[in-house]
Each structure stands twice: as C-alpha cells, then as structure tokens.
C-alpha cells in the first residue's frame, strides 16, 4: 500500500537514509467550535458509544466511523442524518433533531484522519528483555571488541531512550543522530588503494564500479579511475562484525542485550 518514495541511492556515509517528514497529503477540516464538539460528544456518548466506541474507532459490533465513507464525505450532518433516521442493517433508527445530528457530526469530524495514524495506546517502553540473559549473550558474543567497563562504560546512562540504545548497539550510527549529522568516528569506512606498488589509505568518500575517492589522514582528497581489479581496492568496514551478526540474532537475544546494556549505568 505504501508506494515507496524514490530510493535515495547510496545513503550518506555512516548513516541510514534520512527520515523524511510527511506533510499532510489531504486537506484537513477547519477546527470546529469546541463547545459544539463537546455537545456532540455528549450526544454521541449516549447514542453511539456502545456500538462504535467512545473514540468512534469501533466498539461492540459497530465499525470504525472515522474512516467510513459517509463520515468522510459528510460536512454538517447532511449525510449522517439520513443514516441515523433510517438505520442500517444491524443498526437501529435514531430520531434526533437536526441540531443534534450536526453536533454529532462536528464531534466525528474533530478526529484527525489519515493513513499515518498516530498510536494512541503506545507501550511505555520497548524494554522487554532479560538483562541477565543479555549479559551472558554479551559476554559470549561482544567482548572480543567491547567492554562495559571501557568503551561501553555507562552506556545505559548515556543513551537513556531504550529504543535508541537498541538501534545504536545493533548498528552504530543507524539511530538517533538526525539528518545531516556527521558519522560517528567508529563508523567511518576506510579504504586502501594499491597502484603501481604504492598503497594509499584514507577515509572512503565514494565508490562505484568506475571510481574510488578517499581522503587521506592529512586531508588530501584523492580519486582513482577503476577498471575491474585495477587498481586494487580494499574496504575496511568497522561495522563488519555488527553486520555479520544481523543474520544470527534471535529477537530475544536483541531484547536481552538491550535490557543488559540499559542496566549499565
């Protein structure tokens, strides 16, 4: 259903494709008088809530009204009125004065409608793992490169949002840095180019089948035309270990490690 936006091509070095903010695609209704909406809510709660839910998203037997074609096309109750008056299959008739119908309409139209629906019952935390099991997994899998008394000292205190913590340890640089942020030092891809017996090493700035570009430690930019294996190009990916593990974790491993790291204050 989501008609994906154009592929961004190569992502910026060290980071994922930048998240884009979606402006509203469809015109929104102008806000109604709060007093009218409140009146409508009162009438709705007596007449409609049982079947359609207090939030109009469906209840005992009745459908979600917010996205129903009648409500989406209704302006002031002119479409809603006849449905209430006549009833529908499985829905009784309601003989309400026109003013009350338009109040109910104002209440129903006060909800934001869109496919990018904001979560209402969002869980308070993503922390669901077992810290002890996570510690054991960490000891077994991660300690050849990392230590909670050294590079990850106080990690749970430094990154307090568990989701960001989880994304960050899974793939450093892949979370919470915001668009345009420079890559963190641990995520920079290095490259060495060997040409005429000479090896030039630096930070990778671009690579495709036809060109490799790098910046040497002293800041000198270099570019080389590529023709198959000439010159010889070697990429050094500091996150290779993280990438290799993605196919191995169970989701429980991930949740446990996050619970453990969150406890490392």
């Amino acid at each position: 259903m989501a008609q994906a936006p154009p592929p961004a091509g190569a992502p910026p070095a060290g980071g994922p494709p930048a998240a884009f903010r979606r402006p509203p695609d469809f015109p929104t209704r102008p806000p109604a008088d709060p007093a009218v909406v409140e009146r409508g809510k009162q009438i709705y709660s007596i007449t409609c809530t049982f079947c359609h839910g207090a939030d109009a998203r469906g209840g005992s037997g009745g459908p979600n009204l917010i996205r129903t074609p009648v409500v989406l096309n209704d302006k002031n109750g002119e479409l809603l009125g006849p449905v209430l008056k006549e009833g529908r299959e499985g829905m009784p008739k309601f003989d309400l004065p026109a003013a009350q119908v338009s109040d109910i309409a104002a209440f129903l139209h006060s909800f934001r409608v869109g496919g990018y629906d904001i979560s209402r019952m969002a869980p308070p935390t993503i922390l669901v793992g077992d810290a002890k099991a996570g510690e054991a997994y960490f000891q077994k899998t991660c300690t050849s490169c990392h230590s909670v008394s050294n590079d990850l000292k106080g990690i749970g205190g430094r990154i307090t949002d568990p989701k960001r913590l989880q994304q960050t340890w899974l793939m450093p640089g892949a979370a919470g840095r915001g668009p345009g942020a420079p890559p963190s030092p641990g995520t920079i891809v290095k490259v060495s180019v060997t040409q005429g017996g000479k090896k030039i090493t630096g930070r990778l700035t671009k690579i495709d089948d036809f060109l490799v570009s790098l910046t040497e430690d002293d800041g000198t930019p270099r570019s080389f035309t590529r023709d198959g294996d000439n010159p010889k190009v070697e990429l050094i990916d500091p996150l290779q270990g993280h990438r290799a593990l993605l196919g191995k974790y169970t989701d429980k491993d991930i949740h446990d490690v996050t619970a453990f790291l969150a406890s490392v204050k």
């Binding site: 154009p6 961004a8 496919g115 019952m121 969002a122 993503i126 892949a174 089948d209 990429l235 990438r243």
Partner: protein, 560 residues
C-alpha cells in the same frame, strides 16, 4: 463490435496517432504502453545498439523540464535557436498548490511512451510531449490539483490520438496527443476517502484499464473505462465488499474486508490470446496491526489476479503472500513468458516480490510452478506451503520490543520494473538486502488505521544488486553487487533488456550502465546523475535511441 470499432479507429489514423495493431506486437521501434509491450518483459527487439558497439554510445540530446505552471521547460528562449515558446495547457479542479511535499521537485520516475517520433511522459500533475529526435518540448500540460498523495505517477496510456493520465486527486484526464489540450476529465475515486491514483493507464482494445488506492484502508479496485467517454465499463474490487463475495471467508469480518485495501497502483501485463489482464495487488490493511477483523489470508491482497478484459470477471488468482503484515505490496508488474518448464512448454507469469521471493505461475490457470528466495537475508518466512505460498513467521510481525526483519519496508525489490530476455532465459531485477527493526506502537486490539501502529527503523543494508534469475530453477545466474560496504535500499530504478544481448540499468551512484545480458559483465557506462526511471529504447529515422531520466532531465544516447 469490438473489432469493428478497432478498424474504424485505424481508418482515421493520422500522424501522431497510435496504430492499435502496434500494441499487439512485441516491443520494437515504438514504445506504445507502460512496459513497451503487453508482456511486461521490457525486452526490445532492436539490435542496432549491441554488445559490439555499445561502447560507442554517445549523447544525442538532453532536456530538462519543471513541474508546475511557471516553466514549461525545454529550450531556453534567451539562448536562441529554440524556436517558439512551449505551449502550456492548464487543467484541474483545484488551486494546484497542494502537492503534499512530494510534488515540489521534478523527478521523472514514470515510463514514457514513444509513438510516431514523439515521447510522452509525466510527473504528478504534469505531462509533456517531446520530439524523440532532439528532445525539444512540444507541449506541457499542468493539472491544478486539489491535493492527494503526490508520491508518484507511473506513466501515460494512449489510444489512437488520445493520451490518458491519472492524477493524485483521482481524475482520469484525456489529452489530445498532438496539442496537449484536454478532451475531458472524469473522477476515478472518492477523494474524501483519501484515495490517490497513480497507475499508468493500460489501453487494451477499447478498454482503458485504470487502478487506484489509498493509505486509509479503503478498498482498491481496477476498472475499465471507455476511451471515448471515460465512462466505467467494469469495476473489480481487490477485496470482497459484501457478504457472499468470493474470498470473504479469508477475513475476520465483512467490515474488515471492506477496509482491507489491496491497492492497485502499478500496471499489469496482458495476454492477447486469453484476453486476460494479469496484475499484482497491494497488501492488506491495516498494514502492520492485526485486528480480529483481519483474521485469515485476506484475499485478494498480495496476489496475482487475472481478469478477462471483455467481461471484467476474475478468471483466476494466486495469492503469493497470505496475510501480509509488513506493507509489502505485490504490485510489481508480472512478466509473461512462453517457454519450457520442467520439460513442458508453458505459458507463464513471472513475478519478483517486495517480500524477497520469486514466483512462477501458469498464466492460463494460475497454477503454481515455482517459488524461490532471491534475497539471501530474508528471514520472515516460516514455511513455503504445498501451494508454494510464503507463510509468515508470526514472530516477525511488529512487536513492542522490536522484530529484526529482512527486508525493510521498501522490500527486497519494489515497483521499479524487472525485465526478461528470451535470449538468455533470465529475469533481471533490482535487489537490495536490508534489515529493519519493526516496533509495534499501537497495542489497541482494534489496530491502527492504514500504515499506523508501527515504528520501522532502518538497521542496515547488506548489499544492493542487479540480479539475474533463471526462471526454470529460481537460481541466481549472476548478480552484480554495487560496490560499497552496504549500499542504499531500492537497488535502482528498473531494467531494460534488448536483442542486442544487453541489459541497461542505473546504479546507486548516478551511472547508467550497460551489461552483457548473459554474464553481467559491464560493457559501457555514463554518469548522468541519479537515474530515476527504467531505461527505455526506440527507433526513429533509422536510429536506435537509449532513453532514461535522471531527476528533472531526460538523456537520449545513440550511435553517431
């Protein structure tokens, strides 16, 4: 009656009109429909550009265009030599201001038509005609929109001298191909239900096949419209709409089915022998959450569906991906192939899905023939059942703690078209191997609306490829990995293959690349900027052109 109408149309054909007979032929000099021809193969019979001389390709022309009423594009009057100003024709029922953020930049993603020496192409709310010999813009049509999701437009359709365009605010617009003047526009769908219409119309006889969808759970549908009047000839919903409709038993409730989506936004293929229009449907809705109303397989979402164009009746369906929970549409255009399968001649439909699997079905019956995985990292499938369907591991649905799933929401591939060469027997598809965490953010058992209820966070790309699949075995014949440690996602914007034994595709770094179709060896490239659509080819005045878009620019190459 139908034949008579076709002949009478052929009788009044003038310059710049499409001879309906061309639509029945394999792709050659002209490019008269979305995929070039009805098969979806994107295989051109042209051989002037071939393996021997492709290294000599050179730029024939380039043209830049701009969305909106301000600049008709093409040729700068102050530079001289440009000739007359480009006519701008304006239509639409809105103010033209509301483009939802996607419409601001000009990005040509659609397939273009080439008929009688003219190219016709579109971006959301805009259409242009261009001389295929030199890229000169002949007219620009601008539709003043009411709004709607402006994420893309997949191209134009043509019948005789008329062009057809869908708009994000749900109109079918008919234009005079000669002048760009509007003949009529007719509503496609209810804008207030947040439908937006992006499919390239497909003209089959006297049917203009159109489709629509939305992100707010409303049902998807495909329609035939009368090419003269725009009136509806038939409508097929992709989900059951009322009690007793076929497929209703695969939903938790009637209401659940009615808000089950199954959007129609990418053209299908057409088999002239059986009169079947075969296309892929979108995913069920809500996309990520699992209310009771969605219990079951959710027909006819994530399916290949065959409709008889004369009657508007469904002949068969094959559901690839029962009860999808990751917003992986099966919209990718199926490719129709006649060939050998397990020692028997078969008429088949081939399809590589956003979900990372490749499927082959018999296109006469929908009988399943093959399912194989083309993305190595894909991890969401529990089993492939007896019918060849990929059955999900429910543990890989979005969860509160997060599920690490490959592929990400964009998918192992997406709508940018694949191609097939009868010379090599290979199916060429853009591929990327990605991981994302899918977090459930809505625990209300009634679920969310549309795409709500989850937070998908990208983790990594393991590689991006142009991949060649042997349809007989599902095995990878060759794979070209774009250099880099990971690569983006998306894997390029579509593929062309030709009888010159070539495959053309854009890479991730702004290069248009020609490959040996049999081996994947690179034979030519040109860095033109981010290639934004699938390359195409055509022949005019004895010259074969290679055509591609990069953002707001068209590039045409030829041999001098």
């Amino acid at each position: 009656m139908k034949l008579l109408a076709l002949f009478s149309l052929a009788g009044v054909l003038s310059a710049q009109a499409l001879d309906p007979a061309v639509l029945q032929k394999p792709l050659s000099n002209e490019w008269p429909t979305y995929s070039g021809d009805y098969s979806g193969q994107r295989y051109s019979k042209l051989t002037q550009i071939n393996q021997t001389n492709v290294k000599n390709l050179t730029l024939a022309w380039t043209t830049r265009v701009s969305n909106g009423p301000g600049a008709a594009g093409g040729g700068n009057p102050f530079r001289g030599g440009g000739g007359a100003a480009v006519p701008l024709i304006t239509g639409g029922e809105g103010t033209g201001e509301f483009t939802g953020g996607f419409g601001a930049g000009t990005n040509i993603r659609a397939s273009m038509l080439m008929v009688d020496g003219r190219l016709y192409f579109s971006t959301p709310d805009n259409a242009w005609a261009v001389d295929a010999r030199d890229g000169r813009v002949l007219w620009h049509y601008f539709w003043k929109t009411k709004g709607g999701t402006h994420i893309g437009i997949r191209g134009l359709g043509m019948w005789g001298k008329w062009l057809y365009m869908e708009t994000p605010d749900d109109f079918l617009v008919c234009l005079d191909a000669l002048t760009g003047k509007e003949r009529w526009h007719k509503p496609i769908a209810d804008f207030n239900q947040q439908y937006f219409s992006t499919m390239a119309p497909i003209v089959i006889g006297n049917n203009v096949i159109i489709g629509t969808g939305n992100d707010l759970d409303a049902p998807g549908y495909v329609q035939s419209r009368d090419p003269e009047t725009g009136d509806v000839k038939w409508t097929v919903y992709t989900v059951p709409m009322k009690k007793g409709d076929p497929g209703m038993e695969t939903w938790g409730s009637v209401e659940g089915a009615r808000v089950g989506a199954g959007n129609v936004w990418i053209p299908g293929a057409y088999d002239p022998e059986t009169h079947l229009y075969i296309f892929g449907t979108g995913n069920p809705s809500p996309s990520y959450t699992n209310p009771k109303s969605r219990d079951g397989d959710n027909l006819f979402t994530c399916s290949l569906v065959a409709i008889n164009v004369d009657t508007g009746k469904m002949a068969w369906y094959y559901q690839l991906n029962p009860h999808d929970t990751h917003d992986w549409d099966s919209s990718e255009t199926p490719i129709l192939v006649d060939g050998d399968f397990k020692g028997k001649p078969r008429k088949m439909a081939l399809h590589a899905d956003r979900n990372g699997y490749f499927y082959v079905v018999d296109r006469l019956t929908g009988e399943h023939l093959l399912t194989s995985k083309f993305s190595d990292t894909v991890n969401w499938v529990k089993e492939i059942n007896a019918k060849g369907q990929t059955i999900r591991n429910v543990e890989k649905d979005s969860t509160v703690g997060g599920s690490l799933v490959s592929p990400n929401n964009y998918g192992a591939t997406n709508w940018p078209p694949a191609a097939y060469s009868p010379d090599t027997g290979l199916f060429y598809v853009p591929q990327s191997d990605t991981y994302a965490m899918y977090y459930l953010t809505e625990t209300d058992p009634r679920g969310a609306m549309g795409l709500g209820g989850k937070d998908e966070q990208f983790v990594a790309s393991m590689g991006t490829y142009l991949t060649a699949i042997d349809y007989k075995t599902g095995k990878i014949a060759w794979r070209h990995r774009y250099p880099g440690v990971g690569g983006g996602f998306g894997g390029g914007n579509g593929v062309l293959t030709t009888a010159g034994k070539l495959v053309f595709a854009g890479d991730l770094s702004g290069n248009l690349i020609a490959y040996d179709a049999a081996t994947g060896k690179i034979l030519w490239h040109s860095r033109i900027g981010q290639v934004s659509n699938a390359p195409q080819t055509y022949m005019v005045d004895g010259k074969q052109y290679l055509l591609v878009a990069a953002g707001d620019q068209l590039f045409a190459f030829y041999l001098q």
